[in-house]
């Protein structure tokens, strides 16, 4: 009997069974994919996202355009500092096959010596050499059109100065790193620079952002604030011309001058000699020329201080405008003799007019004595120190929008056993104290305008990136700083002084109010006042019914045969005062 056939291995599969097997196989494949995708997309999500973005996600800085700087001209704002895009030409020498040929072509387009470029292009060990900076867009386009492998150009923004070197030290410059240096550029760097924006984007292979990416973020740049200065261009130009001519004529080492609006503290013109071209600041070998000496170079002002000593004494009531006193022609203070120049004559009865006109050191010392009740004592020193620092604002920065402003030097009134009375006697006629021209101008303005000390300023208005303009109002740091009668008494004394100093040409005091005082300060050499080296200074005003402008002039070490204040500084003041009158900056008396 045959056994039943139990072997089913070779039994043909039905179609349903075959489909089920393939179906199961498909599910297995799908399951493998799902598991793998789960691993890649969920478990290793961060790793792969980072790896992908590192190739595709680009981060760009959107540079902010630096604010432009303008000045006044005929009531309009005229740009004097603008931005321009220039190019840095670079090369990768390893790509350059014929350095000499390339160098000749480049030299033919941008100038310079072909040999210099050739030497750079032959530096095969370097991958990046700078061939030239500040080439124009046209030059860059011509060079790139040559399609030399390894030669490229990088755009960079630079400052440009349509007025050339005008007001260079007041403006400052912008370094290659984009930072403002000196002048307004340094003092207001934050406002001028603006805030760069940022673009994070998935890009294609050529770096163009793909719009469809959700990861793209763009923070727009905020452009820098435009600044409109108080400087008057034509006044500035004439001041620079006058100062340069005078400095060259008198062989002055360093000269500074400024014109300030008496009633607002606005600086209308300010200049120094020597100066420089801010577009070529890198060519300057003596870094001190970057400084705006009118705000950062304090010196002993000399006898122009007597105007302020007189004003202080009048203001506190130590003496009256019509006072006369006996001047002994010398005082002995702390064992040292204070005397006058020979031309002033000997002892005698003097008025405040004589004191200022003859520039009596003994007269200024007498004024200090009156502040102490008849002698130089603690009261005199404290009172005078209070006027110097709290009324005239010496010994502290004025806050004018300039880099590296100096506070100057004022010795405290405390007696430390080092001839403090002599020191204070000297400060009354402008020695043993250091001030800047801007401090002197600010102080005299406060006396002349009726008693308000306005903070000296160079900024007239700000215009932000949205076009909103904010005017800068005159800032009164001290009101009732002086009695109005103080200025009224001082004005005729200073008019008297200039009339007796033979200004050429003379001023018509019937139509204009012009006054001032010379200063000749001995220079301290190794701690001893020199008998041969002097600084010449001048502090004066010009106006119609009332003083409109204060002018301060510092001339350091001029080579003149007469007193430096009279021979070197006064002519500058006289020229500037006439310039203001002739150019109709001054409204004459009715």
């Amino acid at each position: 009997m045959a056994l039943p056939n139990t072997n089913t291995a070779h039994a043909p599969l039905t179609s349903v069974q075959r489909v089920r097997i393939w179906y199961g196989f498909l599910l297995l494949i799908i399951a493998i994919f799902v598991v793998r995708l789960f691993y890649v997309q969920v478990i290793r999500y961060d790793h792969y996202k980072h790896a992908a973005l590192s190739d595709q996600l680009k981060q760009y800085e959107i540079p902010a355009s630096r604010g432009i700087i303008s000045a006044q001209e005929g009531g309009q704002a005229v740009p004097i500092v603008l931005n321009i895009q220039l190019y840095t030409l670079y090369a990768d020498p390893t790509f350059i096959k014929n350095p000499d040929t390339v160098a000749v072509k480049i030299a033919g387009i941008i100038g310079g010596k072909a040999q210099t470029y050739s030497d750079l292009l032959k530096m095969k060990k370097l991958r990046y050499v700078i061939l030239a900076k500040k080439i124009t867009a046209e030059q860059q386009a011509k060079i790139l059109a040559l399609k030399y492998p390894g030669v490229g150009a990088q755009a960079q923004n630079y400052r440009t100065y349509p007025q050339g070197a005008l007001a260079a030290q007041e403006l400052g410059f912008v370094s290659d790193s984009g930072k403002g240096e000196y002048g307004v550029e340094q003092a207001l760097n934050k406002q001028l620079a603006g805030t760069p924006g940022e673009l994070k984007a998935i890009t294609d292979i050529s770096g163009v952002p793909l719009a469809a990416s959700r990861d793209n973020t763009e923070t727009p740049a905020t452009n820098g604030t435009d600044i409109n200065l108080t400087l008057d261009l034509s006044m500035q130009q004439q001041l620079e011309n006058i100062l340069k001519a005078a400095a060259q004529k008198t062989k002055t080492q360093h000269a500074s001058a400024l014109i300030m609006d008496v009633n607002t503290g606005a600086i209308k013109a300010m200049a120094n000699f020597p100066t420089y071209d801010p577009s070529k600041y890198y060519d300057v070998s003596d870094g001190s020329v970057f400084q705006n000496g009118a705000v950062s170079d304090p010196i002993e002002p000399g006898s122009i201080m007597k105007s302020l000593t007189t004003a202080a004494g009048l203001d506190m009531g130590a003496f009256s405008p019509g006072v006369t006193y006996y001047d002994p022609a010398k005082w002995v203070v702390d064992g040292f003799t204070i005397k006058n120049i020979e031309e002033d004559g000997g002892a005698g009865t003097k008025s405040l007019y004589d004191l200022l006109n003859l520039s009596l050191n003994t007269g200024a010392t007498w004024e200090l004595m009156q502040m102490g009740g008849g002698e130089i004592n603690t009261k005199a020193r404290n009172t005078w120190y209070d006027y110097l620092t709290n009324h005239f604002m010496f010994g502290k920065e004025t806050g004018v929008e300039q880099g590296y402003e100096s506070p100057g030097v004022v010795t405290g009134p405390k007696d430390t056993g080092s001839a403090i009375n002599l020191t204070y006697a000297e400060t009354s006629f402008g020695q043993a104290i250091q001030t800047t021209p801007i401090q002197m101008a600010g102080a005299l303005s406060a006396v002349l305008n009726g008693g308000t000390y306005y903070q000296p300023r160079l900024v007239d208005s700000y215009t932000d990136a949205n076009g909103k303009t904010t005017m800068v109002a005159p800032k009164a740091l001290r009101t009732n700083d002086f009695k109005p009668s103080t200025g009224e008494a001082l004005i005729p004394m200073l008019q008297y002084s200039i009339q007796h100093h033979n200004p050429q040409p003379a001023f018509d005091q019937n139509r204009y109010t012009v006054g001032g005082k010379t200063g000749t300060a001995q220079l301290a050499v190794n701690g001893i006042y020199s008998a041969t080296e002097f600084n010449g200074t001048y502090l004066g005003f010009v106006g119609g019914e009332k003083p409109q402008y204060v002018i301060c002039v510092y001339m350091q070490k001029p080579k003149v045969d007469y007193y430096a204040g009279t021979a070197a500084a006064q002519p500058v003041f006289v020229s500037l005062a006439h310039m203001l009158i002739d150019s109709s900056f001054v409204t004459p008396k009715h």
Binding site: V19, Y23, L26, V78, P79, I80, L82, N83, I84, Q85, T160, P162, Q163, G164, L166, V208, P209, L210, A211, A212, L233, S234, Q237, P505, A506, F507, D508, Q509, N510, R511, Y512, H578, I581, D582, P588
Partner: protein
């Protein structure tokens, strides 16, 4: 004879039919699992294609935007260059050295000189 005529017997038979003793099955067509999978895959592909179309279109607009931005930058640059050129043309030095300025005749101001 049982008393029933052949006609009546036939009617009785048909009466039974009208009593739904026989059910008629409704014929429905259903997709099988393979068909469903294929349909789902096709739909997913269509959706993917739609997505790709939209992304491509968006990116094409992105390129246009980029071109327009470049154009805007170029115009802005040109504007700044023109401002610089205008400012240079109006500079004091240039005006001072112009032919018109050189043709001016200097006069001595008498107003400021004391009589």
């Amino acid at each position: 004879m049982n008393g029933r005529s052949p006609v009546r017997a036939s009617r009785a038979r048909f009466n039974g039919r009208s009593q739904n003793t026989v059910s008629f099955r409704t014929q429905t067509r259903a997709f099988g699992p393979v068909s469903n999978t294929i349909i789902l895959i096709v739909l997913a592909c269509l959706l993917g294609l739609l997505y790709l179309t939209q992304v491509t279109k968006a990116n094409a607009y992105g390129y246009q935007i980029n071109d327009l931005k470049d154009h805007k930058s170029a115009l802005k640059l040109e504007n700044e260059n023109l401002k610089v050129a205008a400012a240079r043309l109006q500079s004091l030095d240039r005006v001072q050295n112009s032919a018109q300025a050189k043709a001016l005749v200097a006069t001595t101001p008498s107003d400021t000189v004391a009589n």
